[in-house]
Amino acid sequence: MASDGGVFCLRRPEMINVGGIGGMESPPLDVDEVHVLAVDDSLVDRIVIERLLRITSCKVTAVDSGWRALEFLGIDNEKASAELDRLKVDLIITDYCMPGMTGYELLKKIKESSSFRQVPVVIMSSENVITRIDRCLEEGAEDFLLKPVKLADVKRLRNYLTSDVKLSNGNKRKLPEDSVSVNTSPPLTLSPDSSESSSPPLTLSSDSSDASSPPLSPVESLSSPLSFPLDDEDDDVSTESSPTPEESPVRRQKMRSPSLD
């Protein structure tokens, strides 16, 4: 059985198709398929997140460290772009606390990379530390999930990705109103006022209603559309600066301008 230091669990045959590093080439991905790179040093957590993602129809590559993630993406060794064409990655979801390279450090490296900085990065952590969350969001993280991660959390992420992939194969980012509106589900409950103001949904996914869950910490509801300056007061979906109005006051302003390019 693969030890934790290995690529990831090799137990089940279907996982071979998941692809990964260590010489396992995955077939070129269908452009409509959402491909997620999951990074977590815990084998248990990798299996769980992989299952959560596959249930939401994502293709998953799971690796056990930030270094392997960079290696997979080809960020650390300037691989030719022919290689990169096969590596369509729509979302990177990473644990925060990892030995060697933390999720935060990985996030920074991804955002420094011209090829991958537009890929949304989601951080997971078992610890609900506001300063940590802020730091990640400021560095450009899309969202921050509190562990243990649940299906509702992943569905929420999936919802705002769907519009990206379907509307444009090349651009990972879409116009704010398209992605914001997908996040129609009542988020994990926050301060009362934030849940009143709902954006008119342009529902692209019918799964949004499944995302209701028992109230969780405010942090967990930090699902966001993409990174543009947030104005907590702004409920207007149609403008570029609109956030998901349901989001809590805890949601911090992103520090960087929209990378809609």
């Binding site: 059985m1 934790d4 669990c9 137990r11 089940r12 040093d41 815990s42 084998l43 248990v44 957590d45 299996i47 769980v48 299952r51 959560l52 249930i55 606390c97 030995p99 078992s126 562990k147 243990p148 991660v149 649940k150 299906l151 028992p214």
Partner: protein, 163 residues
């Protein structure tokens, strides 16, 4: 024969409920169960198996670290506790997770005696859980044999409130 099956099913049902009531499992276990389906019928068993492997490994690491009398590296112990806390949380092993929370504080306080005691408790706790879950799976196998309707249906009805 039906009444035997019904009896077993009832015992099975009660057994699962008691695991929740006694705090062995929490809603993350329910969440994991909800991720299992006909296409992935062994998902829960798989994850639990990996979790218990983790327990063996991490408890071993901690025992070795604590064994370095005089030069115990508490941050090393703490790192292992953190990992165990994470995986127990991910599978819904509530008691193990709770012990890890205490354990972490003991590491931070560099409380040697406390850490040793806590490690012993962790060891007992994960083994107890493993035995209980094994019983649960064994019973479920028997029931499935006797009754083609999946025993997980009962589980779903009770725990998840599905019909």
């Amino acid at each position: 024969m039906d009444s035997h099956v019904a009896q077993l099913q009832m015992q099975y049902r009660n057994y699962i409920l008691s695991l929740y009531q006694q705090g062995f499992l929490d809603d993350q276990f329910t969440e994991l169960k909800s991720l299992q389906d006909d296409g992935s019928p062994d998902f829960v068993a798989e994850v639990l198996s990996l979790f218990f492997d983790d327990c063996v490994k991490l408890v071993g690491n901690m025992a070795r670290a604590l064994d370095q009398t005089g030069t115990v590296d508490f941050s090393q112990v703490g790192a292992n506790v953190h990992q165990l806390k994470g995986s127990s949380s991910s599978v819904g092993a509530k008691r193990v997770k709770g012990l890890c929370i205490n354990f972490k504080e003991l590491c931070e306080a560099k409380n040697y005696e406390g850490c040793v005691r806590c490690l012993q408790q962790v060891d007992i706790e994960y083994k107890t859980l493993k035995a209980k879950l094994q019983d649960m799976f064994n019973v479920s196998v028997i029931i499935v044999h006797m009754n083609p309707v999946s025993v997980w249906d009962d589980f779903n009805k009770i725990i998840l409130g599905k019909e």
